[in-house]
């Protein structure tokens, strides 16, 4: 019974695998403080601050959070969810922070970069001030945006992308406070009045008059402050950051047409710049760019959808990103293109894109999760279920389980369940019990129930009642393919319960059209190894063979081996994924060298103390 075995192994592996993951996470977590202990208090503080911030954001009653356990549409999520995606990334990074980053930070601090340390503390204080209530949100938002400028500047001078990521992460928390007023105030204060960028940005948010009025008002003021800021060169990173804020503002305002136009111009500007520190920001710009175009009528499923028009620019962007080794943009644009192709069901194009491109390994977790989801989808359509299953497992494991990216989590689980059913496995019941999935997965639960008992009528009923849902989820065609699996399971159930049954009864039980069909189907099931049985044509019955004891075969050993290997691979991977402080090994080397020197001295002393055994013994005692 090969299928049964695989079923068992599958459900077990689902249960088993998270456990070691958790333990390693714990391990590294517990390892973190010991490394951190050497560093100053401030780093501990800053971690606390971050933790607070993360929690605060988690509990923010944002749109996504409010969706509760309802069925969040996929379309709304990946794209619809700029919120969710940002939150996703944020959430991810947050996780990573607690586990991995502290040691590095400690190292940086112990590396003795004084100004940096101060900067960090200052930054975190800024963060903490966020949680303090009763500050005018507008003032605070402006303040936050400006703090982020310093971070961006530091990212450029130190060439450290983590600062940029931090800035991007903060977007989701300030998103609610972004208004045209806030943006225009920041822009006016940042740029000199004659700046082209400033007018470009102000045009986008309908505040083109802001500069003139600001100039007029500032004339009355003492312009000491202005003199201070204007000579400074404004970094393209800052431009891009402000543009992203403008994009988000337009998107939240549902000003799609304008946003699309603005994004197109923005991308034109971005293409002229070649700065590695801009990569992650540029990736975000492309994300919103594609998002805007997805919302313009005619909408995606139609072949003339507007999204098709941005394939050219996106492909160009992909080419440039690959040439510049810009992994962020490359990953983002690839997932965008895949989404684009799949939305108009241009599957062969999507497949070609995948086969001619390599997805960057260093891409962020969210992009990888998305890529795996799309890959799984394509492979499922192409009947490569094993591949699809692997990819979807990856996607579901990488997707955040919290409220934040629930749409993605649900969509990938739905697809995974269908693919598992198509592979002849019955998905683990625990999947359907998760609060995040329970309601939206209900049709799929019924579906797998009917497949698992081999109830053909029930299966067809469920498919017809939930057609709309399945079509919306894009799983309908896959589900239609399940019919044969239902029949196969049905036959298997029959063969398990009866040692001999007439074809006529099989036909009745499975709701097949004719006895002839039943005979062929059973014969095929025997050939495919679904059941162990033989047919007798003249008397018209199926006779099941005795099932041997599976523990007498090599199966258990093989399954055991497979699992041990999975555990070992997991261990290796987690070791590889650990980040270590930069110069820690030198310290160790130093102490090792000292120890060696001590030893040498000791040896010397022993030698000098001559062959006198008692003396030497005394020496040792003294030590």
């Amino acid at each position: 019974m090969p299928e049964r075995r695989s079923l068992r192994s599958n459900s077990n592996s689902n249960k088993d695998k998270p456990a070691p993951a958790r333990s390693t996470a714990n391990k590294s977590k517990s390892a973190a403080p010991s490394k951190k202990a050497g560093s100053t208090n401030s780093s501990a503080d800053s971690n606390m601050g971050k933790g607070d911030q993360r929690q605060a954001n988690g509990s923010d009653p944002t749109k996504d959070g409010a969706k509760g356990s309802e069925d969040v549409e996929m379309g709304e999520d990946t794209a619809g969810g700029p919120t969710s995606s940002i939150n996703t990334r944020k959430e991810r990074e947050g996780d990573e922070m607690t586990v991995v980053v502290p040691p590095t930070k400690g190292s940086r601090l112990s590396g003795g970069q004084g100004p940096d340390k101060e900067g960090d503390v200052a930054m975190d204080e800024g963060d903490e001030s966020k949680s303090e209530p009763k500050i005018d949100p507008k003032v605070k938002a402006i303040q936050d945006i400006k703090t982020n400028f310093t971070l961006l500047e530091r990212a450029v001078t130190q060439f450290d992308p983590r600062f940029t990521l931090r800035v991007l992460r903060s977007i989701s928390s300030m998103r609610k406070h972004i208004t045209a007023d806030v943006l225009s105030e920041v822009i006016v204060e940042t740029y000199p009045p004659s700046s082209l960028t400033a007018s470009f940005l102000l045009d986008a948010i309908d505040r083109s008059g802001a500069i003139e009025s600001a100039v007029a008002s500032s004339e009355m003021e003492v312009d000491s402050e202005k003199n201070k800021s204007s000579p400074k060169e404004i970094l393209p990173e800052v431009d891009t950051y402000l543009s992203i804020l403008a994009q988000i503002y337009l998107y939240d305002k549902k000003d799609i047409q304008k946003g699309a136009k603005f994004s197109t111009e923005l991308i034109e500007r971005l293409r002229t710049l070649n700065r590695r520190t801009l990569d992650s920001l540029a990736a975000r710009v492309y994300f919103y760019y594609s998002l805007f175009f997805e919302q313009i009528a005619p909408l995606p499923p139609s072949p003339a959808a507007t999204v098709t028009s941005i394939r050219q620019p996106l492909l160009a962007a992909l080419r440039t990103a690959v040439l510049r080794k810009d992994a962020d943009t490359q990953a983002t644009v690839m997932t965008l293109l895949l989404r684009n192709y799949l939305s108009t069901s241009h599957i062969s194009q999507a497949d070609l894109l995948i086969s001619h491109n390599q997805f960057p390994v260093s891409a962020s977790n969210n992009q990888i999760a998305r890529y795996l989801y799309y890959l799984g989808r394509i492979r499922a359509i192409q009947l490569q279920y094993t591949d699809a299953h692997d990819n979807l497992i990856g996607a579901t494991r990488k997707s955040p389980t919290s409220n934040i990216a629930r749409g993605f989590y649900q969509a990938s689980h739905k697809l995974l369940v269908v693919v598992e059913l198509l592979m002849g496995d019955i998905p683990d019941r625990a999947i359907f019990r998760q609060p995040a999935l329970e309601r939206s997965m209900h049709p799929y639960f019924l579906l797998s129930q009917s497949v698992s008992v081999g109830d053909l009528d029930g299966f067809l009923n469920i498919v017809t009642t939930h057609t709309a849902t399945f079509r919306k989820d894009g799983t309908y065609t896959l589900i239609l393919r399940l019919r044969q699996n239902v029949i196969k399971t049905g036959i298997r159930m029959i063969s398990l319960s009866y040692s001999r049954i007439s074809l006529r009864d099989i036909c009745l039980r499975l709701g097949l059209d004719s006895e002839e069909s039943a005979e062929y189907i059973v014969a095929k099931a025997i050939r495919d190894g679904v059941i162990e049985a033989s047919l007798d044509h003249e008397s018209g019955y199926m006779k099941s063979k005795e099932v041997g004891d599976i523990y007498a075969t090599r199966e258990p050993g093989e399954v055991f081996d497979e699992r041990i290997r999975a555990c070992l691979a997991l261990h290796d991977e987690s070791v590889k994924a650990m980040r270590f402080p930069m110069n820690q090994h030198r310290l160790e080397l130093k102490s090792a060298q000292e120890a060696r020197e001590r030893e040498r001295e000791l040896a010397k002393e022993i030698q000098e103390g001559d062959m006198d055994d008692e003396d030497a013994g005394g020496d040792f005692d003294a030590i």
């Binding site: 499923p301 003339a304 069901s345 062969s348 309908y476 044969q484 014969a523 033989s534």
Partner: protein
């Protein structure tokens, strides 16, 4: 353009009367003039009448190649037709103007159905489902189902029955009166051959023995003589009017060897774990 206008009806005639050589000649002439008009791929600047003429030429070419059982050429024609059909898809979506292109003569569903059938008969299920996915998507967009179209429905049902194992249904479908168009019938022989060998595979596993008379019906063969011939091809043993299927003899002998192989792998694995553990601890 004028000579194209004259060639197209000639082509239609030639195909109607099944004069494939004449059709081939006409086709190469037509394609040459299409090339001169730069109309092998539709562009926004191509005049609408030319688009529909070009499409017709390519469709005739596809049908001619199917009748000559030239799968490669047919696939090429199918690919060439895609841009034309994309235009048609655009036009069929509400709110888009057709741009004066005449789609009434389009044989899109027939060509697509033939292509699906070709994929099915060559066992290329990956592409089959990829094409089908697009069709389903499109149909549901227009509030229809793919099965509304007889040309598409035919291969789709065939595939479903094949996967399910209802070979008798496939057999009945391939009979001439069930086939939606005579061109589809060209695949019937291939399909029957496929299912026959599938059934034979199943027989070997499922039955210990089978009377020749029953085998004739189950294999959809005409006479018992044909059954005997078929059985000899597959290496089946005929005795007392029954077919005995060869049993795999090594069932019993295998277990002995199995244990030997298994023990060595177990030892190997265990040593492997020990080594790994050593590196970890």
């Amino acid at each position: 353009m004028s000579d194209l206008r004259s060639i197209v009806p000639e082509l239609r005639n030639a195909l109607d009367r099944n004069q494939l050589d004449a059709a081939n000649n006409l086709l190469s002439r037509a394609k040459r003039s299409l090339l001169l008009e730069n109309a092998l791929i539709p562009t926004p600047s191509t005049p609408p009448q030319l688009i529909s003429l070009a499409r017709e030429v390519l469709e005739f070419g596809a049908i001619a190649s199917i009748r000559q059982t030239d799968a490669d050429t047919f696939t090429r024609y199918y690919q060439q037709l895609q841009p034309f059909y994309d235009l048609e898809r655009h036009a069929s979506t509400p709110g888009e103007s057709a741009g004066n292109v005449d789609f009434s003569t389009s044989q899109r569903s027939k060509i697509t159905g033939l292509y699906l059938l070709l994929l099915l008969s060559t066992g290329n299920s990956t592409n089959f489902h990829t094409v089908l996915e697009g069709l389903v998507e499109e149909a549901s967009l227009n509030g229809k189902s793919v099965e509304d179209d007889p040309y598409i429905k035919y291969p789709v049902e065939l595939e479903r029955n094949l996967m399910e194992g209802s070979y008798d249904k496939v057999w009945r479908e391939t009979k001439s009166e069930r086939v939606p168009s005579e061109d589809f019938g060209l695949f019937s022989n291939v399909l029957v051959g496929t299912i026959r060998s599938e059934i034979a595979d199943c027989f070997e596993k499922a039955y210990p023995s089978l009377p020749i008379f029953n085998a004739k019906n189950l294999l959809f063969l005409e006479s018992e003589g044909a059954v005997i011939e078929f059985a000899q091809q597959r290496g089946w043993i005929l005795r007392d009017g029954r077919i005995h299927f060869p049993v795999e003899p090594e069932q019993a002998a295998r277990s002995e060897k199995d244990i030997l192989v298994a023990s060595s792998t177990v030892i190997e694995n265990t040593i492997g774990y020990a080594r790994e553990l050593e590196t970890i601890v």
